[in-house]
């Protein structure tokens, strides 16, 4: 690995591609062309999924959606540098549409989540992706726990946890990062700095010069990377992963990007964000940037783009059709509260089933439809 994280730990933003994608400004990551093309396809898929989930919410068919637009390279690039067989990913909530490297089940499960189906609550085994997290930063200590466990078991993986600039203000972040430094655990703290926490801009979130700078207090490296540069994301995450699995300990990675959409489908940025700010990021689109680079190398084209978009639409439609077709027993919320239900829950469930005109005995197989 050419990138030295200790040296990169400065205030500069690490970048491999120039902002318009026309030139290399640093050594590209040591990955095969096919893998970079796969990252490109994944970003295209995420962008298509983004539009689809947005319109499904507007039609009243899907629940509140948190758009990924503009942040595709952060997730798809990081995932490309991880090992789906050994590493854990802990998303916040924007990431699942770009985590296809961890299996097609991720998007399919996320469609169920957006549908409000209980089976959307977990990515099925053996997918090493934790459930999406609504309580901001709560997943960061979990990542440390997973990493600690892998080290105790002598397994070679890392835990890569995504969280936002807003979540970095929570105690859970400081507590987990501090402890991770003490343990030297294989955790990648991936702070997605997209500029805004709903209506709260960076300067109201922290007075620090950068989020990466906070790593100094934890005793491990912090690095700023251009989150709209997929190649830079691959390089930095690969270097941090290499460091972690060889016993070097955690890294704090600040991916500098921008939330091009609203916080969620329930939000209206016009209330608090100057339109020029978003406009200033339009020329830095992560997909156009990688596309220009790949086209320059003969690895992408207008045809490839159209093909990728069509494949993405087909995959998302299939995932959504499956989600909409999947039924659920109305008493399924009694499943998986405990390994065995309490006596009172058994009574409550029978009362609900009787009320709904169902056989009072739930029997078996009436659960959430998981695994279907």
């Amino acid at each position: 690995m050419s990138l030295d994280l200790e040296l990169a730990a400065a205030e500069t933003v690490y970048r491999v591609l120039s902002e318009d994608g026309s030139a290399l400004v640093a050594e590209p990551p040591d990955v095969r062309d096919d893998d970079v093309v796969a990252v490109m396809a994944e970003m295209v898929k995420a962008r298509v999924a983004n539009g689809r989930f947005f319109s499904l919410q507007r039609q009243g068919r899907a629940g509140t959606y948190a758009p990924i637009e503009g942040q595709e390279a952060v997730v798809a690039g990081a995932a490309a540098a991880l090992d789906p067989a050994h590493d854990w990913v802990l998303p916040q909530y924007r990431e699942p549409v770009a985590l296809g490297r961890f299996g097609p089940e991720v998007l399919r499960t996320y469609a169920l989540y957006q549908r409000g189906h209980p089976a959307g609550g977990h990515f099925p085994a053996p997918v090493r992706v934790f459930p999406v997290q609504i309580s901001l930063a709560a997943q960061i200590p979990h990542a440390l726990g997973l990493a600690w466990a892998m080290r105790l078991k002598g397994e070679p993986g890392v835990a890569c946890v995504f969280f936002g600039d807003g979540a970095s203000s929570e105690g859970d972040f400081y507590e987990a990062a501090n402890f991770a430094g003490v343990l030297g655990a294989p955790v990648l703290f991936l702070c997605v700095n997209n500029g805004w926490a709903i209506s709260t801009p960076l300067h109201s979130q922290t007075a620090a010069t950068s989020f990466a700078a906070k790593a100094a207090a934890f005793g491990f490296p912090g690095v700023r990377v251009d989150g709209n540069d997929a190649l830079a994301m691959i390089s930095v995450v690969a270097a941090a992963r290499e460091r972690a699995v060889t016993g070097g300990g955690p890294t704090l990675i600040e991916a500098v990007t921008f939330r091009m959409g609203p916080h969620t489908t329930a939000d209206d940025p016009k209330r608090y964000q100057a339109p020029e700010e978003r406009a200033g990021w339009e020329g830095r689109d992560p997909i156009l940037r990688l596309r220009r680079h790949l086209e320059g190398r003969g690895l992408w084209s207008a045809e490839r783009q159209a093909e990728a978009e069509a494949l993405a639409a087909a995959e998302i439609d299939a995932a959504w059709d499956r989600a909409e077709a999947m039924t659920v027993s109305p008493d399924a919320f009694f499943d998986h509260v405990y390994a065995e239900p309490t006596p009172r829950m058994v009574t409550q469930r029978a009362e609900l089933r009787a009320r709904l005109g169902l056989d009072p005995d739930p029997g078996t197989g009436t659960g959430t439809g998981t695994g279907a």
Binding site: P118, L136, T200, M345, Q348
Partner: protein
Amino acid sequence: MTLVEAINHTLHQEMERDGKVLVFGQDVARNGGVFRATDGLLDRFGGRRVVDTPLAEGVIIGTAVGLAAEGFVPVPEIQFLGFAWQAFHQIAGQLARLRYRSDGRFGCPVTVRAPFGGGVRTPELHSEALEAQFVQCPGLKVVLPASAADAKGLLASAIRDPDPVMFLEPLKGYRLVKDDVPEGEHLVPLGKANAVRTGDDVTLIAWSAQVEVARKAAAVLAAEHGVSAGVLDLRTLVPLDIEAIVAAVEHTGRAVVVSEAPQSAGFAAEVVATICEEAFYSLEAPVARVGGYDVPYPVGMLEEHYVPDAARVVAAALRVCGEGA
């Protein structure tokens, strides 16, 4: 006006009345709150009194404690009640106890506002009903308005109260609940229940959004079953209007307690125990509870079967009246 408009109007009036009132939390200033409860406060009162905080619930409540000790009157917002757990050490261990642990030197006239309950298919942790957890923190008052007029009268009382108040607003009712709100000074005392409907056969006891469910049930009971049901809105769980509960149950001899939280050790159990202690010999039948089930608040596809509805309340009322299942 709607319930959320009543909250907004009252915040304006209280900030106008008392220059020590401060509003802060996530997205409350520039964005006016995700439900617009604090809309316009920044423009009117400025950035020294209306503050967007970093995203950290613990520090929102913790700083309220310190501000209150210096004589300010903080009205912090927790954006969704499930995120109050990230501040629970400050709420339960600090806010509730500062008066007690400082032997009365410091009070905490803090009003923590948060949306309460579900019914609108939100993401996880946005629909919690945690009232019993706050009741278990002696030192806190726990207030849950059900109407827009009460939202005004109770919020003004909460802000002026010398002790910390958890002011829990019905999320589903922010825009659905609409009634006449007095324009001028309007105070509803903490600790006084409201008999929103009188009845002779059974008393339905509820708070927050479940008051409306109980009212609907009472209408069905009268129209379709010839049962005269009274509805008692508790309004505040701490302090609890024991006198009103006892008087209502002594009158009807039967009661159904309706709540949204998981049933086991929910606040409905406290109401039932109070009735058993204070009005046992007036009872004609065991008291019934209608509530959430003992499960985490469910996902969107399932929540309609979880939150109590009028049909469940009617069935329970008929049961305690000895009229069928």
